[in-house]
Symmetry: C2
Subunit: 208 residues, 2 copies
């Protein structure tokens, strides 16, 4: 009588449905993907889907919650953030690197595409984006940057503005990488741009 979380029975069909849907939604969007297409991608008939999900939208919801379950920034208490921020550039480097890794991770890339396609049409996706991506990251970064100011590592300035100036190019880079991948164009060069951004940004704020 153990909690099965819905993912232990049979051959993990539920997991397969989510994966297949993610792939298809990221390629053709929610409206552009039929339940028949999902079913045939899994290798079952459409009606069998309804043993695992109440309806098509329930699959959407499942994926929508997964998008932000992998935190973009590792949430940690502000005391720890301030400690790490003392290392200056390395703190920012670690952050940029995490986003870079996500940009080149296959699963994360699919989720990002899915989000980009659907975010304008689903209020709860927008809410999650604001809370989990924007707000959390801006808070994390501005806390760190503020600590650096107090330690006199960087010049004094509104930490929120600074945080956005650091975050936005990372987001823009990730967006462009997704565009490139959608056309199966090479993305190798983008990896360097993360470093270039970091170097430029650090030169922009460091005390000299």
């Amino acid at each position: 009588m153990s909690e099965n979380m819905g993912f232990v029975k049979g051959q993990g069909t539920k997991r397969k449905i989510v994966d297949a849907s993610m792939e298809l939604f990221a390629q053709h969007g929610y409206k552009g993907t039929s339940v028949r297409a999902i079913a045939s991608s899994v290798g079952i008939k459409q009606s069998a889907l309804y043993n695992h999900f109440a309806n098509k939208e329930a699959i959407f919801m499942q994926i929508a919650t997964e998008i932000f379950s992998t935190p973009f920034a590792t949430k940690s208490d502000s005391a720890l953030v301030e400690e790490q921020a003392k290392r200056g550039k390395a703190f920012l480097s670690k952050f940029a690197n995490e986003i870079r890794l996500l940009a080149f991770d296959k699963r994360s890339e699919k989720l990002f595409r899915f989000m980009m396609i659907e975010i304008m049409q689903h209020a709860q996706l927008r809410e999650q984006f604001r809370a989990r991506f924007h707000d959390d990251n801006i808070e994390y970064l501005s806390t760190g940057l503020f600590a650096m100011m107090r330690a006199n590592l960087i010049r004094s300035c509104d930490p929120m503005v600074m945080a956005e100036a650091f975050l936005a190019p990372l987001f823009y880079l990730r967006f462009n990488i997704s565009l490139q991948k959608a056309d199966e164009k090479p993305t190798a060069n983008y990896s360097k741009q993360f470093e270039k951004h970091l170097d430029f940004f650090w030169d922009s704020i460091k005390r000299n």
Copy 2:
């Protein structure tokens, strides 16, 4: 026998179709908008649409080309750009202001939403985004920034990296404004953020 551009006959039904489609596409996406919905929004029956457009996709194409027909950055010969760039911060201010105005322009906002929804699914939209938005703006900005470096107004650095660091937050701001508007949330505060970004960026690069 004058060129009518397809927009003079009758009561301008073709124009109405494009406007209605733009509105609906920006709200529900291409797949989520039926030709019946477009027709009823215009005030005609579905079959009448086919007197003006070969099919639904032709409407899409019409709108897709309109997105980038309003140039984000005023294209001008590089000699003129260099002249204007001598004014330093004012050059960047003018650019940021143009994007700010577009972000708060109703029609432009619809086009932006439409683009965001569909860009991942349409190669020609991605191509136009890269060419008309990214490349053109980066070239414009980096040309100006390079001129500023030679005039010793700003510190020396890779102009492309600098240009991206200036452009990305503007794009990110515009994206967030669109998200806010989709939820009918206030966007007044965002106007100041354009200025804050400009001030921070100028402090980051100016010679002191």
